[in-house]
Amino acid sequence: MDQPRGRAFYLLAAVFALYVLFLYGPTLTILALSFQGPSGGLTFPMNGVSTHWFAKLWEGVGVVDIWAALRRSLALGLVVMALTVTIAFYAGLAFRKGFRGAGLVFALAVSSLIVPSIVVSLGIGLEFRLLDDGIKALAAATGWGFLQDHGTLMGLYTSALGAHLTWTLPFGLLIMFAVFNRFDPAYEEAARDLGASGPQTLRHVVVPILAPALVGVALFGFTLSFDELARTSQAIGGRNTLPLELQGLTTTVTTPEIYALGTVTTAVSALVIGTALGLTLWLQKRRARRALAGM
C-alpha cells in the first residue's frame, strides 16, 4: 500500500475537511457569540467582547430554573452511566456464555434502537399514567390512607431513567460484544488454573483488562443521557431535564444568553469526554507499565 497519494486521496481529504468544518463551524460560531458584548444580538458582528451573557445566565433565565435542570440532568446522567456500565457488562458476560433466549434479548436491544423515540416515549408515558390510574382506583376502592395522596409514579428516576436506559443500553451492549470478541479467554483459564474463584477472576483479571472499554461504555451512557430529549419528552413528569428546558427556551429567549447556555453545556460534555479519554489512556499506560514490570 505504499503507492504515492493519488487524486482520489486529495479529493476525499477535501470532502473530509469540508465535512469537519460543517460539523464544527456552527458550534464555534455560537461559542464566539456567547462572548458577545452587552449590546450585541444573536448574530454577528460582535459588539465588543464580554462575559455579560454568562453573568446573566448565572442569574437565571426568565422563570426557568436552569441550574436545577442542569443538576437534574447531571445526576440522572451519572445514574444512567453507572447502570449502563453494570447492566451491559454483565449482559455481555451472559451473552458470551450463551443462554436460551439470547437471540430474543439481542433482538429486543436492537429494536430498542429502531423504534422511533417518540413512540417509546409515548409508550412509557402511557404505562405510568395507567399505573397512576390503577393506584387511584385502588385507593378509592380500599380507602387505604397511604394511597390517598398518591401523586404520580412518573419521575426522574422512574420513567425518565427507564426511557434513557432504552437508549443507552443497546449502545453499551454492542460495545461489550465488540470488546468480548477480542478478549482472549486464556487469561481467565490461567486465573482459574491458579485457583482463582469466579468472582476473583472477574475482579482481578477480566475487569482490569476491559477497564478502558468500560470507561468507553460509561462515556456513552453519560453523554447519551445528558443530551437525550426525544425519549424523555413525554415520560418525565413535572420536572424537566436540561435539554427539554433548552428546547423550550429556543422559542422564548432571543438574547445571546442562550448561546452562553450552549457554551456551558458543550463545556460539560467536553469535560466528561476529556476526562474519560484521559482515564482510558492512563489505564492503558498503567497496564503497559505493569506488564513491563512483571516481566
Binding site: 476525499l12 458550534t27 460560531t29 454483565y90 458470551r96 450463551g98 443462554f99 430498542s112 409515548l122 429556543t250
Partner: protein, 311 residues
C-alpha cells in the same frame, strides 16, 4: 468497534462442554447476568409498546381515556384518505418521507466517502482513530444546541446572508435559509451523518485487503474495484446506516420543530401535539401507524441483505 458480532458462544460450547464441570451453574449464572437487561427492555420497551397498541383501540373524550374498544382512532388517522384529495395523514407522511429521502440522498454518499477515506486512505491507525473521534465528538453535545447554532449563520441577518450581500450577489436577504425545508434537511445532515459513517466504516474495515489487491492484479480499474468489490462488501454497513437515518428522521419532532420554525408537519410532531392535548388514544393510533411504516421500510431494506448473518 471494528467487529461487532454476537460472541461465538455456540462454537465455544461445542469444544468446551466435556471439560467444563461447572456448566449448569455457569448456565444459571448467565440467566442471572442477563436478567437486568432483559427486565429493562421488558418494562420500558415491550410493555409500553403493548400498552400503546391497546390504548390505540380505546375511546376518549376531553377529560379521560375510556377502556372501551373502538376503531375510531384509526378511522380518524386515515380520515378522508380514500377520497381524491390527499388526507392530512398522507400529506404528513409524504412530507416526512420527503425529508427521509433528501437526508439519505446526502448522508449516504457523504458518509460513504468519509468512511472510505478513513478506512482506505489513512495509513496510520492512530491518525485514523483521531480523525474518527473528530467526527464523533460533536455527536456528544446537545442536539438542540447544535440546531440553534445555525441561527447566527442562516438567519435574516446571519453570516451567510451578510456575506452574500457584501459580495453583491444578492440585494435583499434570503428568507428561506432558516425555518424552511432547507434548514430541516441541513440540520438532519448535520446531526445524522455520523450514524452513516460509523456502520459503513465498520464494514469497510472488515474487508480483506487482499481481495482488492487481487482485483487490481486482475486488471480492474479503481472504479471497477469500488463498484464490484468494495460496494457489495459494504452493503451491510450501508443498510444499517440507512436504517438508523430512516428511523431517526421518521420519528423526529424536535429537529423539524426547531429548524422548521414549528410550521412544518411531521408524523412525530403530530403525536407530540396530540399528547400535549391529552388525546392519548389518538396519539397511540398514530404511533402504531408510524411504527408499522418504519418497520415496513426496514423490512424492505433487510430484504436486500441478510442482516442477521452480517451482525
Amino acid at each position: 468497534m471494528t467487529d461487532l458480532a454476537l460472541p461465538a458462544a455456540a462454537a465455544a460450547e461445542r469444544t468446551a462442554a466435556p471439560a467444563d464441570a461447572a456448566r449448569p451453574r455457569g448456565r444459571a449464572l448467565a440467566y442471572l447476568q442477563a436478567a437486568p437487561l432483559a427486565l429493562v427492555f421488558l418494562v420500558f420497551l415491550v410493555v409500553p409498546l403493548v400498552l400503546t397498541g391497546i390504548v390505540s383501540l380505546w375511546e376518549y373524550n376531553e377529560y379521560e381515556i375510556i377502556p372501551a374498544l373502538t376503531l375510531q382512532n384509526y378511522a380518524d388517522v386515515f380520515d378522508g384518505c380514500l377520497s381524491a384529495d390527499l388526507c392530512t395523514t398522507l400529506r404528513t407522511y409524504m412530507s416526512t418521507v420527503k425529508f427521509v429521502v433528501l437526508t439519505l440522498a446526502i448522508t449516504l454518499p457523504l458518509g460513504f466517502a468519509i468512511a472510505y477515506f478513513l478506512a482506505f486512505h489513512i495509513r496510520s491507525g492512530t491518525v485514523r482513530m483521531g480523525l474518527f473521534l473528530l467526527c464523533t465528538i460533536p455527536f456528544w453535545t446537545s442536539n438542540v444546541i447544535r440546531m440553534i447554532s445555525w441561527i447566527p449563520l442562516l438567519g435574516r441577518n446571519g453570516l451567510v446572508n451578510d456575506t452574500l450581500r457584501t459580495l453583491g450577489l444578492i440585494r435583499a436577504p434570503i428568507d428561506g435559509l432558516l425555518y424552511s425545508d432547507f434548514a430541516v434537511v441541513l440540520a438532519f445532515v448535520h446531526l445524522d451523518t455520523v450514524f452513516m459513517i460509523v456502520p459503513i466504516f465498520n464494514s469497510l474495515a472488515r474487508i480483506d485487503r487482499r481481495l482488492i489487491e487481487a482485483a487490481r492484479d486482475g486488471g480492474a480499474s479503481g472504479a471497477q474495484i469500488l463498484w464490484n468489490v468494495v460496494l457489495p462488501l459494504a452493503k451491510p454497513g450501508i443498510a444499517i446506516g440507512t436504517i438508523f437515518v430512516t428511523t431517526l428522521v421518521m420519528g423526529d419532532f424536535v429537529t423539524v420543530g426547531v429548524m422548521g420554525g414549528q410550521q412544518i408537519a411531521s408524523v412525530g410532531k403530530v403525536i407530540q401535539v396530540q399528547m400535549s392535548y391529552l388525546q392519548f388514544p389518538a396519539a397511540a393510533a398514530n404511533a402504531v401507524v408510524l411504527l408499522a411504516a418504519v418497520l415496513l421500510m426496514i423490512l424492505g431494506l433487510t430484504r436486500m441483505i441478510d442482516l442477521r448473518r452480517e451482525l
